[in-house]
Symmetry: C2
Subunit: 389 residues, 2 copies
């Protein structure tokens, strides 16, 4: 029996709007076909939520309204179920192409381009995401095509969200907030980090009380004394202790749209140093938020943060954040000195103020934010404080 | 203050053994330096558990006993904390290289190769994992080096585990078993899939009762009626219903070593079709297990499965599994017809018998297994049955 279409996160018109923007960029670049390989870009253009490990791609062509997804046989039904396209737009290739050195999923993609009759026209590839071997396969088999590098073309379209996307990101932010509040409940002296992590992650999946559940989750980062100087590690096998500091970075996810938040926790009274850093970072955070509005640049926001926190004695080496959306980080704009990307309404960012000051000491705070017509909306709403437990 | 070394999953001698095997392959290939970029291979050679998004690499050289890890500044402390190497073997590059089109983390790696004085010797790269742009950067900046493709060289060493690794994989399997048993407790009619998923994942993190917690987790796959024909999707926003079938694939993780398991659940009595498929797959599973022993090939194991299940009327299109280890799937041997990899003691596999028979109907069962001196050890121990709830 054919598989049914699942409930859709967005109406068909939303996907057609996104595709129209992509096709307009394709026309500017004089390409007839675009091969999209980034997971996040495929989710954006189709609604697919599958997590496929075998080679796959979405082929967008100016000749057809809907794009075509090429996936291994076992992934066909999941893509039909999740995406807005007609079932004829999901092309499944033989399982014999998987783990096969002679012929793989990208051969199926190239075969499809030949069938479309566009193999001698302009073909766009996201070369920045393709391995050298795959890029070479496209170039050698499509030797009469004009190959155009389209790395980040779709990503730059994703940077401005629709109101529908913003609604979904607000739901994601509510999940992230709930998980932070759960952390404040379960982190106690003598508790295993892993047991607290289990409770926090369960909230990341279950969602906020009375709200929808998450539709995906990423394991969160928890850097506890003596590891607060680390940025990207998970919980350990240790137990929390009186006086421990805990830095948490976590996310809520709805249809793979992600809202992120960081908060710092102290079991017992925070040290003077931690309190001073918190106050400087908070001043920087507020200065950054006060700077966000259409027409300002990413660099303006970062500079406001650096100025305010440095005036209170705290310098930060890394950037202050990045564009936020499907699957968390978007590889486009950074909130960094010198990034001249102009802020526009409905851009969203992770204003990420994690600051790893010494090898053994760091502090984290962040918000997920939206640029509004006149300023800023902070999507994450957990108390903006240093939690003392 | 310098960050302390964390507790190590393996003794130093274990890492030196792994590195000796790598260096032996390097000598055979006449390269003096190997640049390892696969996350899983880096974990294997160092113990690193960080999940870093910025460019990073491990440089192994015949000139030095310990390898050197090159990471962005904020990731230095985490790598020092987790890995066995001396702190001088962690080289942190400036945060200004992140999201910088002019100079990135791989420039720092290449700078390090120049500093080592090996830039005019043989340099191995895992080209199969590198983007075309990164490969080009290595080739152009190391124009006097003899670049050798070393894709999967470390992966093929990983395929045979040490007894120490097997111990860790047994712990991972116990976590996977506990999560399957938790699924059998929480899947009930009227329960939201997301609420059940939250409980199952909490068990994946907390671990088996009385055992160690997991040190990482991957969101698990749950394909519920009418989606049992899908292979790689997560829980939905639906509720379970009387008569629902639920296919689950999940893992336990210890130090990123992964054990995987699949089981099928039915709320109420299983349909005759589901029961027949289960019995055919079970016969195939047992035939496959009876075939595993040193000297046999991966193809022999797959053939035994296909023969037994086909004799009971059930054919399967996809392969029967793959080598299993750090971060789940290893990209080396497949349990597939024609894969002539010879089984050796302490190879581990995910004997993966998921079978998506129709767009709207599939069935799953699997075990994580080890090749012993004389046959097979099944690492996962949850009841090998069709769960009727």
């Amino acid at each position: 029996m054919p598989i049914s279409k699942g409930p859709q996160a967005f109406p068909r018109t939303e996907y057609l709007r996104r595709l129209a923007a992509v096709k307009s960029q394709m026309a500017r670049r004089k390409i007839e076909t675009l091969v999209v390989t980034s997971w996040s870009n495929i989710t954006y253009l189709t609604g697919s939520l599958s997590r496929m490990h075998a080679m796959h791609a979405l082929v967008v062509t100016l000749r057809e309204e809907e794009p075509t997804m090429i996936v291994r046989s076992m992934d066909g039904p999941g893509v039909i179920h999740h995406t807005f396209m007609d079932r004829s737009k999901v092309v499944a290739y033989s399982e014999s192409f998987v783990a096969n050195p002679a012929k793989n999923g990208f051969d199926a993609v190239i075969d499809f381009i030949f069938e479309l009759g566009v193999a001698e026209k302009g073909v766009g590839l996201e070369l920045g995401n393709l391995t050298a071997q795959v890029a070479e396969k496209f170039k050698s088999r499509l030797s009469n095509a004009n190959i155009v590098d389209c790395t980040k073309v779709v990503d730059w379209i994703r940077i401005v969200k629709s109101d529908l996307e913003i609604s979904v990101m607000r739901e994601a932010a509510a999940i992230a907030d709930a998980a932070i509040m759960r952390a404040a409940e379960v982190i106690r002296p003598g508790v295993r980090e892993g047991d607290a992590a289990a409770e926090i992650m369960a909230t990341q999946v279950r969602g906020a009380s009375g709200g929808p559940n998450a539709t995906n989750m990423k394991p969160f980062l928890m850097c506890t004394s003596p590891r607060t100087g680390t940025a990207h590690i998970l919980w350990s096998e240790d137990v929390f202790r009186e006086g421990s500091q805990i830095n948490i970075e976590l996310s809520g996810m709805r249809y793979n749209y992600t809202a992120a938040i960081m908060r710092t926790f102290s079991i017992g009274k925070a040290s003077d140093r931690l309190r001073r850093v918190h106050e400087a970072e908070l001043a920087g955070l507020e200065a950054a938020l006060n700077t966000v509005r259409p027409g300002r640049t990413c660099s303006d926001v970062a500079s406001a943060f650096y100025r305010a926190s440095e005036s209170m004695g705290v310098a930060k080496e890394s950037r202050c954040g990045y564009s936020l959306g499907i699957d968390w980080l978007e590889p486009t704009a950074s909130l960094a000195n010198g990034d001249m990307t102009e802020l526009k309404p409905n851009m969203t960012f992770h204003l990420m103020l994690g600051n790893w000051l010494d090898e053994d000491f760091g502090y984290v705070i962040s918000e997920s934010i939206r640029v509004t017509e006149t300023g800023v909306e902070v999507l994450t709403k957990a108390p903006r404080k240093l939690f003392e437990l």
